[in-house]
Symmetry: C2
Subunit: 189 residues, 2 copies
């Protein structure tokens, strides 16, 4: 039996969608990038309407990004946040973004993390999560969020992870609506 | 900027640890395989004490397996269950194990899924989850399980996923103890 091998890649357009030398200074600037990625993912037909950014909290430097890649790569685990965590850890060769002398990292995501991504957030080593669209916005499109409860957020906050909700929520929502109007596949509906 | 690429592979020893032609008929037979994988992962030094199996419910044929690969591959998302989901979907070229005409699939895991893996279980398309060690057993080793509540299991069950706990729990626990005694890295502690 030949064991399968899984390769996780980003679409080619992603390299030019990010200004890798820029300091993305504010939550809004960082969120605008996450939303841009989510929109491009829909427009270019490479996946669902979700984008995520891992950024150094202080410098504003982008370490890695992710876009939803479930359908493109036939892999249910590849939500935008998961791809971003994997890419950041691959780039830094570590399994925790709070390892050793690393600077503080944040996750900026165009939509509130689902249950899987919220769990992974805890393992990832990010110290802050900034969310655009609310989980109810995703649910309106019949995207399931899974078992996420108010206590789930409290659990992360009790472990030192700050969660900020609703940054540019309306802009983030526009991409969800764009996806709905383009009859995008609701792959877990 | 060269985009990073993530490659998810299993250790070489895994190919021979599974009898790919066998019908693993009962929960206990399937769990014994998951526990064997968890033990070998510790003994061979390829990761944490967790193994998982994706099996066709009726035929008992193993579709894919996973072992904890967080440290080996520098990737916080690669718990045993996640690797098993990815490998099964790669093998079947689908993002849901309940796609189309596929037979029913089950996840058999040497330890109850953490919050991330429980979320992924919902997206994976498996219809049944069989657990060995309890999450409290993992917690005794300071392995975090994340925000998993009784309602989390109820949430999956309400969506048609059966969860069976405590199959060969004592045997599964022996591997956790082996890991503790071998001073294994508690990587999210």
């Amino acid at each position: 039996m030949q064991l399968p091998q899984v390769s996780v890649t980003l679409p080619d357009w992603v390299a030019d969608a990010v200004d890798w030398d820029r300091a993305y200074a504010t939550d809004e600037e960082r969120m605008r990038l996450a939303i841009h990625l989510s929109r491009e993912n829909v427009v270019r037909g490479t996946g669902g309407p979700f984008g995520a950014v891992i950024v150094e909290a202080e410098s504003g430097r982008v370490v890695a990004v992710g876009v939803n890649s479930v359908v493109r790569l036939n892999n249910c685990t590849l939500h935008g946040e998961m791809v971003a965590f994997m890419m950041a850890q691959a780039r830094l060769s570590c399994f925790s973004l709070s390892s050793g002398s690393l600077p503080r990292h944040e996750l900026v995501t165009s939509c509130e993390p689902c249950a899987m991504c919220l769990g992974a957030t805890l393992w990832s080593g990010v110290r802050r999560v900034v969310c655009g669209a609310h989980r109810d916005d995703a649910r309106r499109l019949d995207f399931e969020e899974g078992p996420v409860f108010p206590e789930s957020h409290e659990y992360l906050e009790a472990r030192g992870i700050e969660i900020v909700e609703g940054v540019l929520r309306a802009e983030a929502n526009e991409v969800l609506e764009l996806y709905r109007n383009s009859k995008g596949l609701i792959y877990n509906g």
